[in-house]
């Protein structure tokens, strides 16, 4: 009796599994048929707030269309795209990572620069340590975090510091600007060099770096060939570069080309 129970249980399990597999296959068929596939956008982590606003505005203007946003560091997104991830649009925080995707033959059209971002110093709200500019970061009593040199923001920060011949001892080379901002928010470090757009969060204050000392990051965007909705991708990129898109980018602290 027990044996029979086991046997029929296993049988059920196998049936269920087959049903799941078949079901997945069916729903895929429906998706590519009737309703329009969502526009899948891979965007750099520093675009999180601005692209969420842009996608909402886009969906409002284009009823029935859906924008699916994926945020991560540009190198990780570039890697995922080269490994075959299907997306319609890629917006990167630097040119080299976009170039990797172009070289892999994933883009459908040449990338265009759609925004620029400047570096800024993130300090805890109130700026109790009275940090006024890059030179202050060399003060020995301060704990400063940078992004690792492998990450675009870390590369730019080191360029800016080197140009001023400043030696800053970073207590932690974080893997993303978000991690630096988090450590500033919690007060674990006194300051961190991030993008100007990253300082527009609660508990953090941005200290501007003069334009003579600043490094400008260029953000390219491109329509991709492998996604399921090329037309949607093209429309979304056009919207990002339209007056409406530019206004939203500006609102979130980006500088426009």
């Amino acid at each position: 009796m027990t044996k029979r129970c086991h046997a029929s249980f296993a049988g059920c399990l196998a049936t269920a599994l087959v049903a799941v597999v078949l079901g997945a296959a069916c729903s895929r068929g429906v998706e590519s048929g009737a309703a329009a596939a969502p526009i899948r956008v891979f965007a750099a982590a520093s675009l999180t707030a601005s692209f969420q606003a842009i996608a909402a505005a886009y969906e409002q203007q284009h009823p029935g269309q859906k924008v699916e946003l994926h945020f991560a560091g540009s190198p990780q997104l570039a890697l995922q795209l080269r490994e075959g991830a299907a997306a319609d649009v890629f917006a990167a925080a630097d040119q080299p990572n976009m170039q990797k995707v172009v070289d892999a033959g994933v883009t459908a059209a040449a990338p265009v620069e759609f925004a620029r971002n400047e570096l800024a110093i993130a300090v805890r709200a109130g700026n109790q340590k009275r940090i006024a500019g890059l030179a202050d970061l060399a003060r020995p009593e301060l704990k400063v975090a940078l992004c690792a040199p492998e990450v675009p923001a870390g590369k730019y920060a080191r360029q800016a510091l080197l140009a001023q011949q400043l030696t800053v001892r970073s207590v932690s080379d974080e893997s993303s600007v978000k991690a630096v901002v988090g450590k500033v928010q919690l007060g674990e470090v006194d300051a961190g060099v991030v993008y100007a757009t990253d300082t527009k969060v609660d508990g953090v204050e941005g200290v501007a770096i003069t334009s003579a000392q600043n490094v400008v990051a260029s953000y390219p965007i491109a329509v991709l060939a492998r996604g399921g909705n090329r037309a949607g991708g093209e429309a979304f990129v056009a919207f990002v570069r339209s007056e409406a898109g530019r206004a939203l980018l500006r609102q979130h602290g980006f500088v426009l080309p």
Binding site: A7, A10, A14, E150, V171, E174, G187
Partner: protein
């Protein structure tokens, strides 16, 4: 009836195979993409060696902490039943089930510069834990020690106390009873706990990054170096992953079959 039995067996085998593939395929993917010819050179890069060294120091120290502090804790937990013990056991078990990022945040809020204890350490002694190698040890111990404590406690609870009574009638002191009777009897549990604790500490990523930071040569352990390498040099990340896989397989083998030359349980 025979037909149904065969269908059921085939079904079971199919499902079992699919489940096994879930675990085998990622491993295979990693091994297929490993640049084997360049592996020795990749592994010998100074930054990789620093990460490996740091990982060994960090997970090894965490294991020592677990043995020094976790063993007494396990003995106390196993020595009776009380509501206090239940509460302590839950608190000690927590890191096993918590998402590691939560553990990292909790560590920061306790020992960070503005943390519960950390603020006083900073004010009175000027000591800051975060961004030091010791912080990676604390993170590894926090995440790994529960395995040691729970494993040893289970071993102690299963241990027949009558052996102690016999030793006691033979005039052995409590310390001698513990060292010469209890410890040898719970050695398998001790070994399992130690290996799991060490392995968990070695793989620690999230809590370390959150609590200790990420600085080459100070806090950038193997998993952190692996995560960062994925941003720029995936080959290095794959090489580090292969080392971690090899170590993990070694640990699991020893757990199951004992050290070479050791009598099999």
């Amino acid at each position: 009836m025979i037909g149904r039995g065969r269908i059921a067996r085939t079904g079971l085998a199919t499902v079992a195979l699919l489940a096994a593939l879930l675990f085998a395929l990622p491993l295979l993917g990693l091994l297929v993409r490993t640049p084997w010819s360049e592996l020795p050179a990749l592994v010998q890069q100074p930054a990789v060696l620093r990460a490996v060294g740091l990982s060994l120091v960090s997970s090894g120290s965490a294991l020592l902490l677990a043995m020094g502090f976790g063993l007494p804790l396990a003995v106390w937990l196993a020595s009776g039943r009380s509501p206090l013990r239940t509460v302590v056991r839950i608190v000690v078990t927590l890191p096993i089930v918590l998402p590691p990022i939560t553990a990292g945040i909790a560590l920061l809020l306790a020992f960070g510069r503005n943390g519960l204890v950390g603020a006083w350490l900073d004010r009175w002694f000027g000591i800051g834990l975060p961004f030091t190698t010791f912080a990676t040890v604390v993170a590894a111990a926090y995440m790994g020690m529960p395995f040691f404590v729970l494993s040893v406690e289970a071993g102690l609870r299963a241990f027949d106390r009558r052996y102690l009574d016999v030793a006691s009638t033979l005039g052995a002191s409590p310390l001698r009873r513990f060292c010469q009777v209890t410890l040898p009897m719970v050695l398998p549990a001790l070994r399992t706990g130690a290996l799991l604790c060490w392995a968990r500490g070695l793989g620690e990523y999230c809590a370390t990054q959150m609590f200790a930071g990420n600085l080459d040569g100070t806090t950038r352990t193997m998993p952190l170096a692996c995560g960062l390498a994925m941003e720029s040099e995936p080959e290095v990340a794959i090489a580090l992953s292969v080392i971690l896989v090899a170590v993990s397989v070694g640990v699991l083998f020893v757990l199951r079959h004992g050290l070479p030359g050791q009598e099999r349980r």
